[in-house]
């Protein structure tokens, strides 16, 4: 099941693309997910991609690597990456063990993420 593309909700808020995948992320589907998130961000022409991991029920190091690589590809397009991982979620648990560092800011909610990205200067 994780070999299949995850369903992704996408919305544009305050100039940011908010993408919300749902399900489990592992090495079987991480690559596909990254390509789709990249495409969504570019297609919208937004300055920031907010990846909301609220609906993710399993995520491991393959998901972390996916975020690193997504940051790399978006950077070339001039799109910033922001991650939402609410407290208690599997993503928050994983991010407590592995820091994303400069790759992406992590917020507890989409609202906070959108507010921060609006303040960011876009290139």
């Amino acid at each position: 099941m994780s070999g299949y593309p995850l369903p992704i909700d996408v919305e544009i808020r305050d100039g940011a693309v908010v993408a919300r995948p749902a399900g489990e992320i592992d090495m079987a589907n991480a690559g596909v997910l990254r390509e789709r998130l990249h495409a969504e961000a570019v297609a919208a022409g937004a300055g920031t991609l907010v990846v909301d991991l609220t609906e993710i029920t399993y995520i491991d190091s393959a998901g972390i690597e996916m975020l690193f690589r997504l940051h790399g590809s978006l950077d070339g397009e001039g799109v910033g990456l922001v991650v939402v991982a609410p407290p208690g979620s599997r993503a928050a648990r994983l991010l407590s063990l592995v820091a994303l560092g400069d790759v992406a800011e992590v917020y507890a909610s989409v609202d906070a993420a959108v507010r921060s990205s609006a303040r960011r200067p876009t290139g």
């Binding site: 099941m1 994780s2 070999g3 489990e24 592992d26 090495m27 079987a28 399993y58 491991d60 190091s61 393959a62 972390i64 690597e65 599997r90 648990r93 994983l94 063990l97 592995v98």
Partner: protein, 1210 residues
């Protein structure tokens, strides 16, 4: 009854059910209806038998299609869902008390053909219904409504009543001798039928077209003209033929319509009058009603015509009788006047003969003499006859030696017998045979007998004997002639009787010879008889009383000239005598099969010739009896009823019309077909004859062919009529029997009784040798037999289906059950419908306890909550006593994420009431527990509730179990102690927190107690039915229960089943509920998962591990972390091994005390140096999550061992 015409199931009422706003009725929306109502309504709708029912306080009205069609008519669908008293407001005074009686006494009513005025067709309609009310009960056994099974019998009742009116009218009119009597009868009879004939006026026309009012009956409405005499024009204006609207009237029930019918007879140009018949406002003027009025008018018309015809016939008969008397007198006079001249011719002619010498002259005188004598004989016979007829013949007796005299007379025939070649033997004793006789008469006796014998004898002899026998002188004349058939023999002496068909020398003769002999013999106080055998000969015997004296030798009597005339006549019969015998018409041989009983025809005719002719004609085909007048005909009918009467209109004693009236007045002969014969020509006579009640009418003269055709047609018609009458009578008898059977069936209480009564009644109804009624329901079959049912009942048996609710059955009767004809099957079908309806009631009754059981089961939770760390199982067994249901129940429901409520209870009492109390308690417990009350607080509140809802008495146990640690808080209200079965099979009781049963007393105090159900252990909740056995203490039962649970609990369903199975089934008085809560113990088996070494395997691995961890009691939080650690190890195993690379990874997981140990193994070697951050990140995650991670690389592969401390297994 026309139930066979009841339409099949049509969606009409069922469809209308959906359109009714039930919320507006006291019953509320159908979803809220009790099962009893719902099922009764379903039964009602499904039945093809006409029914309605009332339910609830207002007896809300339900009915089926048959009832809508037969009875409600325009009130459908308005009536659906209304209050019964509103639907039947107009007859509530009649049916209200009956319904009240049914509801209060719970006994069924039965009314047959009850008159009810219904307003269903836009007017107040007179109707008749046969119906039964029976009570309907709800789940609690209380009376909740009533059911009416109804058959509308209006048509039958009206039909019978009108038929009765017509019959009474016919009877009343039959005896009417005059027009006045007809009018009196009409007035009296029509007044007896006020329901069909509210009023009548009978006008009879005068010759000038004006009309006189002859009869009036009933209450003539105000404003309706009932004028005594109306001129022609006024009559036509006031009462034109057809339908007439009457002036409006305020009187209730006053007719507003009348029908004017002409009193006309077929074949008459002008009606005799008109009948004005008021039409009841309570019935529609439909075809049967109009037909009835037509028949009434027709009867009156024909009676008027009849009585008028009879009066004219009587006048004619009187005239004819007068003519007859004149004729007799005339003949007497004429005969007398002839005799004298004839004597004056014969005497001188004889003298001249004696003196004549010239042969030519002698010949001439001979011709004169012979013809004069022949004429004289004829005249004498006529005179004799009229003398005999007028009773004025008196023998002039002289003492005579009959032997000598007879011998002399006989010898005179010798010349004739010699010429004919037959022998004449005369035997006489030596001494005299003396008697006092009128010699002339004796002469005629002897000569007639001799002449008769000679006529029929062609060879052999004629033997004349005179002897003394005792006190009698006996004359016998025996011949060896053609003989006479026995049938002819007995009637030989009737006047004008002539033996036909037999070979004879001549057909000449008046047919009075033997009749004359008999009359003459009887004048001498003697007797005459004839014996005969066809082809052998005939012997006639005459007996006269002997005289005491002996005649003087000199008084020898001598034959008169009469004798010579007889002889002369006889000689002329001989061949060559110059006279040719006319050919007798040949009688057709009877071509009727002798084994079929022939119809009998009675002929009444005073004319012997005609009588004889008719007899001869008809006896070829039918058995015939003939009598001379109406009175004799009545006597003959009484002695042996014929199949048809052929009667002359005009007869002495009792004429044809009198005969007809007498026959029609007697019910036994009212239907006997009568054909009238009349000499009167013209169509009018026929009409009069038919009007008098004759079935047919023939005018003389008629052809034999026509007569036979008419007789045959009327016999056939009578046969048809008899068959039809028989069928009708049989049918009405069947209907009566059916009604009786229906009553009996409706009295039966149980389905078994219904079957029994049905079988017996069905057998009796059609007169079968045996009957069998059976019903299959719920997998079982019940049956009842009447008579000896053979083993192979299927052979040629008559089968009628039975059905009740979903049950199906049949009524089987012996195959020869055809004794009551085709109606039998229709009747049986109706009987089966009655039985089916009653069976439905009985089944509903029997099903009451099943309803309660169903109710109880429906209150038990349909499914139990799914638990991650344990398992629930429940069992419910109904009590062995089928007639009642206990109030046991259990319940289990989650409170939040970590708590489950376990409840078990037992409401004391049985049946629907206990079950419904149980439902209330169950809901209350749920509510209070959800509110957050502890078990003890919950029990206290439920206790108060039980008092509030009317008391009762229940044991109740309530527990709240923490799914995480197995801690349990509980309280018990008098309930048997739940059992804890530990993982090792040891047992203990939850004996704490005990209080009396709820409802036992006021203000009970309840306490919570606490315990723990460890992992792998089970908590068993049960009701007393599991442990209570008759004649045994409860402790013994508890010991047995504990003993039954000796091994590890294992699966909850298995434990529940085992406990129930181990307990003795016998004598289990109560129902049983068992609820088992089992906690998962340590999973004893490690999980081993082997997967292809590819990314897609990772999700499958996670799923398998999640299940295993759930089974092993790993809490969700730690389980997620372990899953992530294993996931990282597995991802490495998929991604990093270089070679060799058999594409498989093997994961094993097992409990080790408080820890879970997972080993992920691949079959290759990891790359010596990680090429990116990724693997290092994965390993870091593993180490962060697990208490210990060990990576061991070997030649056989890499082993990653993850140990996670997860706390105590529970």
């Amino acid at each position: 009854v026309s139930s066979s015409a009841v339409p099949g199931p049509s969606p009409s009422v069922a469809a209308e059910m959906d359109r009714v706003d039930w919320r507006a009725t006291p019953l509320g929306p159908p979803e809220t209806w009790p099962d009893s109502l719902r099922s009764t309504v379903q039964m009602l709708l499904a039945s093809r038998f006409s029914m309605w029912m009332g339910w609830g306080e207002e007896l809300t009205f339900f009915y089926n299609d048959a009832y809508a069609h037969d009875t409600l008519a325009a009130k459908h669908p308005w009536a659906l869902g209304r209050a019964a008293h509103e639907v039947w407001a107009e007859i509530w005074d009649d049916i209200g008390p009956r319904i009240e009686q049914v509801l209060s006494t719970r006994t069924a009513t039965w009314d047959e053909a009850l008159l009810l005025y219904l307003e269903r067709a836009g007017y107040r309609e007179e109707t008749y219904h046969t119906f039964s009310y029976s009570p309907l009960t709800d789940e609690s056994g209380a009376t909740a409504g009533m059911l009416c099974v109804v058959v509308e019998e209006t048509e039958r009742v009206l039909g019978e009543r009108r038929l009765r009116t017509l019959r009474d009218l016919a009877t009343g009119l039959a005896g009417a001798e005059s027009e006045a009597a007809v009018y009196a009868a009409v007035e009296r009879r029509l007044a007896e039928s006020p329901l069909d004939l509210p009023f009548t006026l009978t006008y009879v026309f005068d010759a000038d077209g004006g009309a006189h009012l002859r009869c009036r009956t009933g209450t003539i409405p105000a404003g309706v003209p009932a004028t005594e005499h109306l001129e022609a024009a006024a009559m036509a204006k006031a009462w034109p033929a057809g339908r007439v609207d009457l002036p409006a009237s305020d009187e209730p029930g006053a007719p507003d319509t009348a029908v004017v019918l002409e009193l006309s007879e077929a074949g008459r140009a002008r009606p005799a009058g008109v009948l004005v018949a008021g039409v009841t406002p309570f019935r529609e003027l439909d075809t049967p009603y109009l037909g009835f009025l037509d028949l009434v008018a027709g009867q009156i018309a024909s009676s008027i015509a009849d009585v008028r015809a009879r009066e004219s016939e009587r006048r004619r008969a009187e005239a004819l009788a007068e003519l007859d008397r004149a004729k007799t007198a005339f003949f007497q006079n004429v005969s007398h006047e002839f005799r004298t001249p004839l004597s004056l011719i014969i005497g001188p002619a004889e003298d001249a003969m004696a003196q004549a010498d010239d042969p030519q002259q002698r010949e001439r005188i001979d011709v004169v003499l012979r013809n004069a004598r022949r004429l004289q004989k004829l005249v004498n016979n006529l005179l004799d006859f009229s003398r005999l007829e007028s009773g004025r013949a008196e023998p002039e007796r002289e003492l005579t030696d009959l032997a000598a005299f007879t011998a002399d007379l006989a010898s005179m025939f010798r010349s004739a017998t010699e010429r004919a070649g037959i022998e004449l033997v005369v035997e006489r004793p030596d001494s005299s045979v003396a008697a006092a006789v009128d010699r002339e008469m004796w002469e005629r006796i002897v000569l007639n007998l001799l002449s008769n014998a000679f006529k029929f004898t062609f060879e052999g002899e004629i033997r004349v004997t005179v002897v003394r026998e005792g006190d009698d002188a006996v004359l016998t004349v025996a011949d060896t002639g053609t003989g006479i058939e026995p049938a002819e023999l007995e009637r030989l002496f009737e006047r004008f009787r002539r033996v036909r068909g037999a070979r004879s020398r001549t057909h000449e003769g008046s047919g009075i010879g033997l009749a004359l002999v008999q009359e003459l013999v009887e004048l001498h106080e003697g007797t005459v008889s004839m014996t005969s055998a066809v082809g052998v000969g005939s012997t006639c015997t005459v007996r006269l009383p002997l005289a005491a004296e002996v005649p003087e030798p000199g008084t020898h009597a001598a034959p008169t000239t009469v004798a010579a005339a007889y002889v002369e006549e006889a000689l002329r019969w001989l061949p060559g005598a110059g006279e040719v015998a006319a050919q007798e018409d040949v009688v057709t041989p009877r071509a009727v099969a002798t084994d079929v009983p022939r119809a009998r025809v009675l002929i009444a005719d005073d004319n012997a010739d005609l009588r004889e002719y008719l007899t001869r004609l008809l006896s070829r085909i039918w058995e015939v009896e003939a009598v001379g007048d109406g009175r004799a005909a009545l006597a003959a009918v009484a002695a042996r009823p014929p199949d048809l009467i052929l009667s002359d209109a005009m007869m002495p004693e009792l004429d044809g019309f009198g005969l007809l009236a007498a026959l029609r007045a007697d019910p036994a002969t009212a239907q006997l077909p009568v054909i009238m014969l009349s000499a009167r020509a013209g169509e009018a006579s026929a009409v009069e004859g038919l009007g008098a009640g004759a079935d047919d009418y023939l005018i003389k003269p008629f052809s034999s062919r026509e007569l036979i055709a008419r007789v045959r047609a009327n016999l056939d018609l009578a046969e048809l009529r008899r068959a039809a009458a028989l069928a009708t009578e049989r049918h009405s008898q069947l209907l009566r029997d059916l009604a009786d059977a229906a009553i009996a069936i409706n009295r039966a209480r149980t389905a078994g009784e219904v079957l029994e009564v049905t079988a017996r009644r069905a057998r009796d109804l059609v007169g079968a040798a045996w009957a069998l009624a059976r019903l299959s329901s719920g997998g079982g079959e019940r049956s009842a037999e009447a008579g000896d049912v053979p083993a192979d009942e299927g052979q040629g048996a008559l089968r009628v289906p039975l059905s009740a609710l979903e049950a199906r059955g049949e009524l089987v009767l012996a195959g020869e059950a055809e004794t009551r004809g085709v109606e039998a099957e229709a009747m049986l079908t109706q009987l089966a419908q009655v039985a089916s309806t009653r069976l439905e009631n009985a089944l509903l009754y029997e099903r009451e306890h099943r309803v309660a059981e169903t109710l109880q089961r429906s209150l038990l939770p349909p499914s139990l909550p799914e638990l991650a760390t344990g398992e629930l199982a429940a069992l419910y067994l109904p009590g062995s006593d089928e007639a009642s249901v206990g109030g046991d129940w259990y319940d289990a429901f989650a409170i939040g994420e970590h708590t489950i409520a376990l409840v078990i209870g037992d409401v004391v009492g049985r049946g629907v009431h206990a079950a419904s109390t149980m439902g209330q308690l169950r809901n209350a417990v749920r509510a209070y527990v959800h509110e957050g009350y502890t078990p003890a607080q919950t029990l206290a509140r439920v206790d108060r509730l039980l008092h509030a809802i009317g008391g009762g008495f229940a044991t109740l146990f309530c527990a709240l179990a923490d799914l995480r640690d197995g801690s349990v808080r509980y309280a018990s209200a008098g309930h048997p102690p739940p059992l804890v079965v530990a993982a090792d099979g040891s047992t203990g009781w939850l004996a704490g927190g005990l209080a009396p049963p709820i409802g036992a007393a006021r203000n009970l105090t309840f306490h919570d107690a606490e315990t723990e159900v460890p992992g792998g252990a089970a908590l068993v909740l049960y009701t007393d039915g599991l442990v209570e056995r008759r004649g045994e203490s409860i402790d013994a039962g508890l010991e047995r229960l504990a003993a039954a649970a000796t091994s590890s609990p294992g699966h909850a369903p298995t434990l529940a089943a085992r406990l129930v199975r181990e307990m003795p089934e016998a004598d289990r008085p109560d129902d049983v509920a068992v609820l088992v809560f089992a906690r998962h113990g340590v999973a004893t088996e490690p999980a081993v998962v082997r997967l292809p070494a590819e990314p897609g395997s990772l999700a499958a691995l996670r799923d398998r591990l999640r299940r295993w961890m759930g089974d092993s009691g790993v809490a969700p939080g730690p389980a997620q972390d372990l899953l992530l650690a294993v996931g990282e190890a597995a991802a490495n195993a998929v991604e990093h091994p270089l070679e060799p690379a058999p594409a498989a990874i093997v994961v094993t997981a097992e409990r080790d005390g408080r820890d879970v140990v997972v080993v992920v193994r691949d079959h290759g070697r990891w790359q010596a140096a990680p090429s990116d951050q990724h693997r290092g990140r994965g390993l870091g995650i593993m180490r962060a999550l697990a208490s210990d991670v060990d990576v061991r690389r070997t030649d056989a592969g890499t082993f990653v061992t993850i140990r996670s401390q997860l706390g105590d297994p529970r």
